[in-house]
Each structure stands twice: as C-alpha cells, then as structure tokens.
C-alpha cells in the first residue's frame, strides 16, 4: 500500500514460552497519528519496541518504507533508526546530563553541526516544547510533565519522519495530561509526522488519533477512525470503551 509508513506482517514474539505478539499484522499510514490501545500486558509496548528494532520478532516482517528491519544488520538498522524519534514512557533522559546536553545528544552523534549551531537547535527545540530556560537543569530537577517535554524535544532533534510515543500521559495529572496531548497533536500537525502512540488513556486516544488500533492478546482486534471505533459493535471493543470512558474497569 503506497501510503503506509510502516507495514507489519504476521508478527510473533514470545517470552519464556508465553506468546506476547500473536500473528499481529498492521498498516500504519503516513503522516497521521495512529494510537494503539489495549489492556496493560497485551503487548503494546513490546510491539512498539519491535518497530525500532529494540526487540527482534520470532517470526514476521516489519517494513519501514521498503526496508524489512527484521533482517537488517546493525549498521543498516541504525540508518533506518535515524528516521525515528522515540519518546519513552518515563522520558528516559540521560540523568548524568543536563537537559540541553540530552537534547543535543542525537545532534552531536549524527549531525555535523558545530557546537554553536547545536546549541541554537537545542534552544529552538526546547522553545517548541515550552521548556525555555530549563536547558541547564538536570533531569532529576524536572517534574513528570517537564521530563516528557524534554524527551519530546530530544526525540524531535533530528527531524524524524516517524515518531514513536510510549504511554505519553501515564503518571501525569489531568491538566498536564491535556497539555502533553495538545503538544503531541500540534507537533504532529506542524511537522507532518507519522506518529505511533501507545496509550490506555481513551480520552487522549480519541483526541489525538486519526486512526485507532486495538490490540488484545497480541493481535489486532479492531482498527478504524475514532468514529468507527466508537460505533463498533465488537463486544470486546464495547467492553473496553465502556470501562474506559464511562466507569471503573471491570475485574477479569
């Protein structure tokens, strides 16, 4: 399919004999936000880590553009990885470096910019995520929301085509949750990114997504626009939506 940025075909992965990804196939459209929802432990984060080669599948293919990253060697894989920016769940900032050095890190590693130009870029990126003046702070001095912003600035530093985001709002208060979701939406629209977001926050998912994918027990059970998902008759989707949007989660 021409407009797919990422094509996943029949992905299998198991840990210690337990199947986490179970014949998962998926097309992720270019320049749109795809939000992947599902219950905790249903393989969402494991799936995201496969997309950037942090984990290798037992079987299956992952095409980034035309490159099947499951068969690439380290050097070729690293070339593909430079198309990505990734925001980790707890931001994964390097805690031995200041915020500025964190954001500068990918530029120092992969660009030929001079130190002064790197600093300009860093300040520009920090400004974009609303972190002016925080460049000399250490990650331990930042609040949860600020860490996410700094992580986002670092992920955007090399102008990625594809943005991977793992649970952007877990552990944040409702106001900060809304602020981060807004920032992610604006960033995607402004930079025209292909964005893949893992979440179990349904409100955020419906706010951000052009398309929603629901994963259960390691495979895709529903995919569609937010409207289609909302109106889905699938009992599992209904159960998930009703628990997430209207009441406390059902015990199982």
């Amino acid at each position: 399919m021409e407009h797919a940025a990422i094509t996943v075909k029949n992905l299998f992965k198991s840990f210690n004999g337990q199947n986490i990804l179970n014949d998962l196939s998926l097309l992720i459209p270019r320049r749109q936000t795809t939000v992947i929802i599902g219950r905790s432990g249903d393989g969402k984060s494991v799936f995201l880590k496969h997309l950037i080669g942090l984990l290798k599948p037992d079987r299956g293919q992952i095409l980034i553009g035309k490159d099947d990253i499951t068969v690439l060697g380290e050097a070729a894989l690293n070339r593909v990885r430079r198309k990505f920016g990734m925001l980790f769940q707890d931001a994964a900032l390097f805690d031995s470096m200041t915020v500025a050095r964190n954001v500068a890190f990918p530029l120092r590693e992969h660009s030929r910019l001079k130190p002064k130009e790197i600093m300009e870029q860093v300040l520009f990126r920090l400004d974009q995520v609303g972190l002016n003046g925080a460049e000399n702070k250490m990650p331990s001095e930042l609040s949860g929301g600020m860490r996410k912003r700094a992580g986002l600035a670092r992920a955007l530093a090399l102008d990625p085509e594809i943005m991977l985001v793992d649970e952007p709002t877990t552990g944040l208060d409702p106001i900060m949750t809304q602020a981060i979701n807004q920032l992610l939406k604006e960033t995607q629209a402004r930079l025209n990114l292909t964005s893949v977001i893992i979440s179990h926050d349904l409100r955020g998912a419906f706010y951000l997504a052009h398309s929603i994918v629901m994963i259960s027990k390691g495979r895709v059970v529903a995919q569609g626009s937010p409207e289609e998902i909302k109106n889905s008759g699938d009992p599992f989707v209904r159960q998930f939506l009703e628990a997430g949007l209207e009441g406390p989660p059902e015990a199982s």
Binding site: K49, Q89, F105, P106
Partner: protein
C-alpha cells in the same frame, strides 16, 4: 530417593545457571572488544572513566598500600626475628607486594569502589530505559557505555598498582627501619638484590587482567539488570562478589603460568 533427586536437581540447576552466566559474560566481553576497536573512538568518555576508575581511587589505594606494607613488615619481622633474618623484611615485603598483594588488593578495592558503581549506573540506565533510548538514537550502548569502562579498567589498574607498590614498600620501610630499627642500608639493599624487574611487570600484567575482569563483570551485571530498583541492588552485589571471586581465582592461574 526423592531427597537425592532434588539435591542433584539443585546442583544441576546451579551448574546450568553458572554456565549460562559465564557464556553470557564471554559473549558480552567479545562484543565489547569488537565495539572497542570500531570507530567512532570516544576519547572524552574514556578519559572520564579513567578519571573515575583511576584518579578517584587514589586515596583508597594509598591507604590500602600503606597499611598492607606496614602490617606485613610487622608480621614478617616477628617471623624472621626467630632466626635472626630481620634484614630480609624489606625484600620479602617488596616481593610479596609486587607479585601478589598490590595487584590483588588494589583490584579488590577498585572493584568495591568502581566495579559496583558501574553495575549500579548501567543497571539504573537499563531499568529506566536509557539504554533503549541510546539504541533508539542509533548509538550502540556497548560501544558507548561498556568499551570506555573496559579500557579504563585495563589502563588504570596497572597504574594504581604501581602506586600501591610504592606506598606499600614505603609503609614497610617506616615500620621496619623507623620503628623496628632494621638497618636502613641493608633493608634497601636487600630489596634491590632480590626484587627483579619481572616481578614488577608480571604484577602489572596481572593488574591489567584484573582491571578487565572487574569492569566487564560490573558492566555485564548492570547491562542484564531486570526488576527495578531491587534488580539494580542485586546486580551491584553480584558484580562485586563475582568480580572478587574471579580475580582471586584468575590470580592463582596467572601466578601458576607466570612464575
């Protein structure tokens, strides 16, 4: 019979876990060597680690060397005095230090200081996804984190051992000559007579091997950490215990081959 089964099963389990661990560590070491020899060479990280492993261990090493030399002089004086050979205290201490005590004790002290810190730091980076972040940013974490630490261990341990040798002999001199009244000329002359250059160089080669062991074990235990803060604690303990045992065991085999 059931008791025997479970007993043998346990021993088998330990053996398999041990083999698994050693195999993992060997592969990790070979990978680190591979990435050490490939550009980009990160001199800044290397120097930072050399400072951490070496320069910041100087105080610990001085104290260790001083007291080891001093107590060894005291003990050997007691033995030698029984048959009037007090003049051999200096050379005995010097030989024991350069061949054995200085490389081993220095490495054990640095394991406690720097090996444990390597495991804790890399382990924390593992559980907070910082190592995944490095990989995601197309930077090989073994090259970035492990290779500089390994090289720093290999370079700095021999240098620290030179210092321990010197301070240890100084300690024995103070005790032997200044406190126990051994003749200064004979004390020093006997060191020159009995201590050969190979004693010192072999000791330094041992130190380099121990430096490699403590850094690889520390980094490996950190790298494979799982299970949050508790996991980091376990990794740190395991790194220190395992490195110390490996250093002592390797010491025996190196001594058997070298001397």
């Amino acid at each position: 019979m059931r008791f025997l089964d479970s007993f043998l099963g346990k021993i088998g389990g330990w053996v398999l876990a041990g083999l698994n661990q050693s195999g993992g560590m060997l592969i990790f070491f070979l990978k680190s060597l591979f990435w050490l020899l490939r550009p980009p060479f990160r001199f800044r990280l290397l120097f930072r680690q050399m400072e951490f492993v070496g320069v910041k261990s100087i105080n610990v090493v001085i104290l260790t060397g001083l007291f080891t030399g001093a107590v060894f002089a005291l003990q050997s004086y007691y033995g030698f005095a029984m048959f009037g050979a007090e003049s051999l205290v200096g050379s005995t201490v010097a030989l024991a230090l350069t061949r054995e005590l200085a490389p081993v004790l220095t490495s054990l002290m640095v394991t406690g200081r720097a090996g444990s810190a390597m495991a804790a730091e890399i382990g924390t980076m593992r559980v907070t996804e910082q190592i995944d972040a490095l990989t995601a940013m197309a930077v090989n974490p073994i090259q970035y984190l492990v290779a500089p630490r390994m090289l720093a261990g290999i370079i700095m341990l021999p240098l620290l051992t030179v210092l321990t040798n010197y301070i240890g002999i100084l300690g024995s001199y103070v005790v032997g000559v200044k406190m126990l009244d051994i003749s200064e000329g004979i004390f020093v002359q006997n060191i020159y007579t009995y201590l050969a250059m190979t004693d010192i160089t072999m000791g330094l080669i041992k130190a380099a091997v121990f430096g490699l062991i403590l850094s690889v074990v520390g980094c490996y235990q950190g790298y494979v950490t799982a299970g949050g803060a508790e996991g980091v604690g376990r990794a740190t303990t395991r790194a220190v215990v395992l490195a110390c045992i490996l250093i002592l065991a390797t010491d025996y085999f190196l001594t058997a081959v070298m001397f």
